[in-house]
Symmetry: C2
């Protein structure tokens, strides 16, 4: 275990630089807080680096995490920082005294896609992406395929919104969705106003690939055209549209209701 | 119409101060962007102040808004600012060149509460509050009752999340919810894990007061105890819970589905 108390420490400087880009393409991710770090360890992976608040090591959850990483990491990959230094790396006002630096998985997309899935087409808002990942995990979906232009799945805000969902999912990023349509062995489903049936009057299949799109522009036209299952979510005219995270949850839970998972 | 180009202008300074607290208790609110300003005018109210980007007055939406406010406001309540000054007042990166300063309505709570409603108990995150308001408007609910400790309904982030829902709703803030239980002529409904039925196996009434609670702690115990309709939303064990905005949408749209609004 190594203690760092100076902003001029090279390892701290490197961490501080990482914190500005964490989770973006080709960058490592930072998991903040007890829950995410526990979840990472439960997946049986060692983090690249474990960082603790030196003044809070006596808290039971932190002590347990420290014991766990000490078992799997060499001493120089376990850091303690002063609370002030740690705060520079955190994106939340009140951190929990621990963060892991990890290499996000970059799984390979299978040749054929034949299971329940969600595709995200340029969903930009990290809160929306995080919420959708959480809803996917909540209905038992295991695979999420994201286009370029989506908020980075392993960025701090998406991780926070996901609340651990990342660890129940296989997430593919920077995928050319249009090029994947031919790999599908399940229907591609889209929410749209054109040529669409009421979601709640549609018999939904047990498995499909739902595609949800950009907050302003919706799903790209080529993907919309490729969709064989087209549903709309009727709502009162008082609003123009639904938030994409809400629309996704309504589709996924209606499918779960219909297939009798309840 | 009055033009302001200096940060030292007293009226600008006052606006800049307001922008730090807009929408909080006893403060005026700032509506940013074309859509919200149009919606405010459509409710037939004059804003307290209309502020435009002096360099974008030729855009059709802005010209139309300017013409509309010029009809209803004295000249000194219509300001044009340089883009730089306007940017100081905006909470979004790329503003649309217009904002209104308004007095948020503070409607009185009726003696009896007998209609479909949503109650919010210390929902802190402005994104969640905004999303729930938008979902309320989307299912045709007209009244929302919020406790102290909720994000301020007329704050910029809640307004943005609501996407105009505020104008379809009567929103009561800073209400003692426990003290309102006796006013109810509809069931109080809560999502809970204790003594609860599966949402999708429950015959939901046409009208009830749904109460949704604090992101970490849920609905306060006294309100939970007062609830006569108790439902749970089953989900896969991969997540510990659902986001409160998602849970609210699932309840409201399931009720809408059951009562056959679709």
């Amino acid at each position: 275990m190594k203690h760092v108390a100076s902003r001029e420490n090279p390892q701290f400087k490197q961490l501080h630089r990482l914190a500005q880009h964490a989770g973006r393409r080709h960058e490592r991710a930072i998991l903040e807080g007890v829950h995410l770090c526990q979840a990472w360890l439960a997946c049986a992976e060692a983090p690249a680096l474990a960082v603790f608040d030196t003044e809070r090591l006596d808290r039971p959850e932190l002590a347990a995490l420290l014991a766990a990483v000490t078992d799997v990491l060499p001493a120089h990959q376990v850091l303690t920082l002063t609370p002030q230094l740690l705060h520079y790396l955190e994106t939340v006002e009140t951190g929990q005294g621990v963060l892991f630096v990890v290499d996000p998985p970059s799984p390979e997309l299978p040749e054929r896609l034949a299971e329940p899935m969600v595709w995200l087409d340029r969903v930009q808002d990290p809160g929306n992406v995080g919420t959708i990942l959480r809803s996917c995990a909540a209905v038992g979906i295991r695979r999420v395929v994201m286009s370029a232009g989506c908020a980075a799945a392993w960025s701090p805000k998406v991780l926070r919104g996901g609340q651990g969902a990342h660890f129940a999912l296989t997430v593919h990023e920077q995928v050319d969705l249009a090029a994947c349509v031919d790999r599908l062995d399940v229907p591609l489903a889209v929410t749209t106003l054109e040529d669409a049936q009421d979601l709640y009057a549609t018999a939904l299949p047990r498995a499909c690939a739902w595609v949800f799109g950009h907050e302003g522009q919706g799903v790209a036209v080529d993907l919309q055209r490729a969709a064989t299952l087209r549903v709309r979510i009727d709502h009162a005219p008082a609003v123009e549209s639904l938030n994409v995270g809400i629309a996704a949850a309504l589709c996924l839970f209606e499918q779960r209701r219909q297939i009798g998972a309840h």
